[in-house]
Point group: C2
Chain length 102, copies 2
Amino acid sequence: MKGSVPTPELNRLLHEPARLRTLVQLAAVTKADFTWLLGQTGLSRGNLSVQMSKLADAGMVTVEKRFHNNRPQTLFALTESGRQALVEYKQNMQLILDGIPE
Amino acid sequence: MKGSVPTPELNRLLHEPARLRTLVQLAAVTKADFTWLLGQTGLSRGNLSVQMSKLADAGMVTVEKRFHNNRPQTLFALTESGRQALVEYKQNMQLILDGIPE
DNA sequence: TTATCATGTTTATATCATAAACTTATTTAC
DNA sequence: GTAAATAAGTTTATGATATAAACATGATAA
């Protein structure tokens, strides 16, 4: 068994850095609106929109549209299954990282 | 600064799971041949070939071709800059993971 | 009432991961 | 001795996907 290094599967939906970043942000708050996420992640509007749609389609986040100061506002929140997926991703990635010396 | 979560850049070359896996394997040994990596990673020959070429082009691994038992054999080894890149990736990813509760 | 800004969404493109098909050389079977 | 099968990779074709550019819509400012 020499040189045996674990290589668990990584959820590709979460693995993409643009989405991983937004999910980590969402994990740190109860709710976040589109514009705030824009600033935190540095993504373009188009990119953030597409990524959030994918996360919503997969049930990782909820989407709530409303008006705030007569402006449309979109609020996102991590779902329970999103939180679970994120924790699982963390565990798997941690196993991989542990195989790297230093 | 409420809700501030660090989001360092991740080296996309290393971030791709197929390549991350082979690099982690290479980090655990001094040298590895193509067929052995095939078994460890579960990648197809074509995929492994492409990924190793990219890693070689980027200077992350060295490639040594020789004959062994009258068969061609390709040996790979992590370079020093490859090792550094891997450690840096580990540190950055660790920062991101630390932002995830549990 | 025209222009500008704010907030997103839709599309078009360009990259890239992956497997299928191909190459070349070597044994093994007949 | 030649045809089939095995070994070790590489090249290509395609399908997915990340990303920005273009678009849409409504509100405020000039």
